[in-house]
């Protein structure tokens, strides 16, 4: 049976030559690459996906990739489309979707820039958001060991009560 979801997915598959699946009702997951991001985003926005629910990064350490996910919601169709894009983990950079989803995209990208170090090309403001005077590597990367960081910054090996943290 042709549902809204299958129609939309077929349309995306034929138009952009992308891979995707319907997870369940109202959930479509599409894998694409960074070259198609802007084109697909523009098309989806025009098709009613006006609400950018979230942008997220998953750090696949072993693969050496960052996976960016853009979660888009359409108030008309009531479908959530997720665009998944893999980029290299070294010097990660991708085009900003700020021109398309404006401020709501801007703030998500600013957060991810701080926590994962992804550079969003074209985002006007990527200044630090939560962390103050942070000079280390972005803290949400999988290879950032926060236990080590806490030991270095806040505990004292000589202190009787705190040396348990070093065992």
């Amino acid at each position: 049976m042709a549902t809204k979801e299958t129609e939309l997915l077929d349309e995306m598959k034929s138009k952009f030559k992308v891979d995707g699946k319907i997870q369940r009702e109202r959930r479509i997951w599409v894998s694409t690459d960074e070259k198609k991001l802007m084109e697909m985003s523009n098309w989806l926005k025009d098709r009613g996906f006006v609400h950018l629910s979230a942008i997220s990064v998953t750090d696949w350490l072993e693969e050496g990739n960052y996976e960016l996910t853009y979660h888009l919601w359409s108030y008309n169709d009531k479908i959530l489309v997720t665009l998944k894009i893999k980029i290299g983990r070294k010097n990660p950079a991708i085009d900003s979707v700020t021109p398309i989803w404006k401020e709501s995209a801007q703030i998500h990208e600013r957060e991810l820039h701080e926590l994962f170090g992804v550079k969003f090309k074209g985002n006007p403001d990527l200044s630090p958001l939560f962390l103050e005077d942070w000079e280390r590597s972005p803290p949400f990367r999988k290879d950032f060991d926060w236990r080590e960081y806490v030991r270095e910054e806040f505990y004292d090996r000589e202190n009787e009560r705190e040396k348990v943290y070093y065992d």
Partner: protein, 374 residues
């Protein structure tokens, strides 16, 4: 010497820090630039409550995370319990017992009511109506008593809504007590609805957020509904048992502070209606899926990813959970509604506002720094 000094600024321009030490701001600050009485620009200053939940959850099992998810929002921990539990349920394919679903909805709606009461309280305080603040916190205590009786914790339920269902069934007499508390809530709503010319003067026509701006800035929930857009995750994408319940989604066209304030009151009425219905139809049976009965059981989360959306009191909340097949989530992205409300929306609304309107606009967004900073 004198010409080496910095030029004297125009004496009507100055910087004002609203928060983080302001009594009404919460753990959050806004840096305002002011010219005379007008705010010329506002810059949010978040981070005072940043605890890195997304990272912490990668180091813990789902049952530990259920407890951690309380702390995502101080004012409505049960709703955040629920969304975390749903994400794990979906990933693991757990069939939640019917009775547990009803209990989850009852608790989530009670939590929404008490959160909206706080909203009313702090909004009153922000606009100079101190009695409203005290009234609100007094009435909220009735619900906290209920929470203590059912979950064991007054404010934080310690993961009462956990993956697989809820931790324990309602104790004896819970139903009658809930109904009694709901009567008290009706009383509270009557008080909230009393005519208040001072409030009208402070709220009407202030902080106008047009619907197209609201969508552009990422507003959801009561803020978006106050701008005239009829949308609610509970209706658009029913989770738990919301598709079986009969309730309205309040919408107002005025788009100002007053509209958002009234949405809060309307939503409380709807929540009361939902709780009554759910209590009426509450089925008998188990409250936790049998394979998860012992909280210390080691669970493996199957490989996969889910994106779960919920309507919490403040708007659209979402959890994006990825698992690589281990016992801990590989990545858990949390989308708090206030991340958008407190940064882009607030900055936009404050720009050009009168300085006296800042608290009214600020609190009309029903803000909670905890789920913004996470």
């Amino acid at each position: 010497m004198i010409d080496q000094m910095e030029p004297v600024p125009k004496d009507t321009e100055y910087d004002l820090y609203f928060g983080p030490a302001h009594p009404g701001s919460g753990n959050f600050g806004v840096k305002l630039k002011i010219d005379g009485e007008i705010v010329t620009s506002a810059r949010a200053d978040p981070g005072y409550l940043h605890r890195g939940f997304e990272k912490l959850m990668e180091y813990r099992t789902p049952l530990q995370n259920a407890v951690l998810s309380d702390r995502l929002c101080v004012l409505e921990p049960l709703n955040w319990n629920l969304i975390h539990a749903e994400a794990v349920d979906n990933l693991m394919g757990i069939d939640v017992p019917e009775r547990a679903k009803y209990i989850r909805v009852i608790m989530a709606e009670l939590s929404r009511i008490q959160s909206h009461i706080i909203w009313y309280g702090v909004f009153s305080k922000g606009t100079g109506f101190d009695t409203g603040f005290k009234m609100a916190f007094g009435y909220r205590d009735y619900i906290l008593d209920l929470f203590e009786m059912i979950t064991g914790g007054r404010v934080y339920p310690a993961g009462y809504i956990c993956p697989g269902g809820v931790r324990r069934d309602f104790p004896n007499g819970a139903r009658d007590k809930i109904l009694k508390v709901l009567d008290k809530m009706d009383e509270m709503i009557k008080l909230e609805e009393l005519e208040n010319p001072a409030l009208d003067a402070r709220a009407k026509g202030v902080g106008i957020l047009k619907v197209e701006d609201a969508i552009r800035l990422g507003a959801t929930g009561p803020v978006l509904r106050g701008s005239g857009m009829k949308t609610d995750v509970r209706k658009d994408e029913p989770y738990e048992i919301y598709d079986k319940l009969d309730f309205e989604v309040p919408v107002r066209k005025e788009s100002d502070v007053y509209a958002r304030y009234m949405i809060g009151i309307e939503e409380m009425k709807q929540s009361i209606k939902i709780v009554k219905q759910a209590l009426e139809e509450l089925p008998e049976g188990e409250v936790i899926a049998s394979n998860l009965e012992r909280p210390k059981v080691k669970v493996e989360i199957p490989e996969g990813e889910v994106y779960v959306r919920n309507e919490v009191a403040r708007g659209e909340a979402a959890v994006y959970m990825v698992s690589d097949g281990g016992s801990k989530p590989y990545r858990c992205k949390i989308r708090g509604p206030d991340f958008l409300h407190m940064i882009p929306v607030l900055e936009y609304l404050l720009k050009g506002a009168q300085i006296a309107d800042v608290p009214a606009i600020y609190w009309s967004l029903n803000i909670c720094p905890a789920d913004m900073d996470r």
